[in-house]
């Protein structure tokens, strides 16, 4: 019964976050614009060399997702802080992990939508030919996003109480995400341009392991970071 109540609360938080985001529009527009701008800047920096562009495509894509994602994570708690709604949210009975799960799912949907736009623009800008292994690439994209979003949602909650949250979040998040980014980048690149060293499996296992660690750790630790 308690679990069913928590599921109801998770659904309510997801609906609330996505509805407020859809109506305000500012969040998604700014996050997607930042992602696309990052790709364009990387493209300009690499010049017209198509081989260099293709080589850098996977790295540029994941860095664009990371930087734009930080903006999204900060924003997901800014909505709560604006009218003192975080306080009201914490006053509702129920498990704290339900709040985290609701925020996590809403951020996952949000970042995945942004990813669709960034990937579309990236394919055109970096002259990438979509390989027949594209379903595997989609799987890696989703696994990578899951790792980034789980840790991003957690650290955004932790830094939400700080006045310097915009600075604090990247400082906390970027070093911790290095394994996820590394695994996602190398696996994506290998699937795009051929897995000569037969290394994709190992990187995917590493990515999955970090996803599980991040998910479990953040679910358990959320209660302690959200309370004062």
């Amino acid at each position: 019964m308690a679990f069913r109540d928590d599921v109801r609360r998770i659904r309510a938080i997801v609906w609330k976050d996505l509805t407020t985001e859809r109506r305000s529009k500012a969040g998604f527009n700014s996050v997607a614009s930042l992602g696309v701008t990052m790709l364009v800047l990387f493209g300009l920096a690499l010049g017209p060399d198509s081989v260099a562009l293709k080589d850098a495509a996977a790295g540029a894509l994941w860095l664009a997702v990371l930087f734009a994602g930080v903006l999204a994570f900060n924003r997901s708690y800014q909505v709560e802080l604006d009218g003192g709604a975080l306080e009201a949210l914490l006053l509702y009975p129920g498990s704290r992990w339900a709040i985290f799960a609701g925020k996590l799912i809403a951020n996952l949907i949000f970042v995945t939508l942004m990813l669709v736009i960034v990937v579309g623009v990236g394919i055109v800008l970096f002259q990438v030919v979509v390989p027949p292994t594209w379903p595997a690439i989609v799987g890696i994209l989703l696994l990578g996003v899951l790792g980034i979003v789980s840790l991003g949602t957690f650290y955004a909650a932790m830094s939400s109480r700080s006045r310097a949250r915009e600075v604090l979040l990247p400082l906390l998040l970027y070093p911790m995400l290095i394994p996820v980014l590394l695994a996602s980048m190398i696996a994506t690149k290998a699937l795009l341009f051929g897995d000569l060293m037969n290394e994709v499996g190992a990187w995917v296992r590493m990515l999955s392991a970090f996803d599980v660690i991040f998910l479990v750790a953040t679910f358990f630790a959320f209660e302690y970071v959200i309370e004062v």
């Binding site: 109540d5 109801r8 609360r9 659904r11 309510a12 609906w15 609330k16 509805t19 407020t20 109506r23 305000s24 909505v79 604006d82 009218g83 003192g84 709604a85 306080e87 009201a88 949210l89 914490l90 006053l91 509702y92 009975p93 129920g94 498990s95 309370e227 004062v228």
Partner: protein
């Protein structure tokens, strides 16, 4: 001025009075709670510090079910801190606090089932409509959404039920927050300066809700600066001074800016330190 010490500095850490205060508070709070079944609130030696500054230094307050208590005190004396500790929004540095027998430190979820907190911050989502804000609250609380229209009608917001809260005045937002409490019907109501930004009709609405809760056996603690709007609602008043709960004297009431009429209000002696 030369003796002022900033919090978090080494000198603050080394100051003897901080350690003496900590020792005193710890000794006071090592008292086993005597839980009476009819106590809505049993706060014993509640202390809280921010940095080196102790805001609460062992506050004791017992509130019986069905009792309405006014909480006075000058700005920064710890009234809101005390309320936030009771509501599980803030952890006490020392002391114990029980709401209907549930410890706010260890049984927060049980406490939150009983407590309704009306803060001076509305806690609403600007991009949701009034109705959607209440629907979200009802879902989170596990209450039927069928009562939303009645709650909106009661606070006079039926005509703007589908408008976004972003366009609401502060008074309308306060009314919507009150509608959320009406939906919840808590057993212990914590009201932090509830009459701010409310017009005469809003004040009557608030008092009507408090009386209704009282009739149903609920308790309330009301933080106030001016006692006049709460005339006829409170059973007793207490004051926070030097981090502790006291019985206020007429001089206290006058010094803290309460209106002269307030002095005629009942001043309680039961259940205070």
């Amino acid at each position: 001025m030369c003796c002022r010490v900033k919090p978090y500095t080494l000198s603050a850490f080394l100051r003897l009075e901080n350690w003496v205060a900590f020792a005193l508070i710890s000794s006071v709070t090592n008292v086993a709670p005597l839980l009476a079944p009819d106590l809505a609130l049993d706060a014993r030696g509640v202390a809280r510090r921010f940095g080196a500054r102790w805001v609460l230094r062992g506050a004791n307050l017992q509130v019986r079910a069905g009792e309405m208590v006014g909480l006075l005190g000058h700005n920064g004396c710890g009234k809101s801190t005390f309320m936030r500790i009771i509501a599980t929004l803030l952890k006490a540095s020392a002391g114990d606090c029980f709401v209907y027998g549930s410890n706010v430190k260890t049984e927060g979820d049980d406490v939150r089932h009983h407590v309704g907190f009306f803060s001076h911050i509305p806690g609403l989502y600007d991009d949701l409509s009034a109705r959607e804000n209440l629907a979200f609250a009802a879902t989170m609380l596990g209450f039927p959404t069928a009562d939303i229209d009645a709650a909106l009608e009661r606070v006079g917001l039926t005509s703007v039920a589908h408008e976004r809260v972003r366009g609401f005045s502060t008074g309308m937002q306060r009314r919507l927050s009150l509608a959320r409490l009406i939906l919840q019907r808590p057993r212990l109501l914590l009201l932090d300066e509830p009459y701010n930004n409310l017009d005469v009709a809003g004040i009557a609405l608030m008092n009507g809700f408090i009386r209704e809760l009282n009739a149903a056996g609920g308790a309330a603690i009301v933080v106030l600066h001016d006692l006049v709007p709460a005339q006829g609602v409170l059973d007793r008043t207490v004051i926070i001074r030097d981090g502790r709960v006291h019985m206020p004297s007429p001089a206290d009431l006058a010094r803290d800016g309460a209106s002269p009429q307030a002095i005629t209000l009942p001043v309680g002696a039961a259940g205070i330190s």
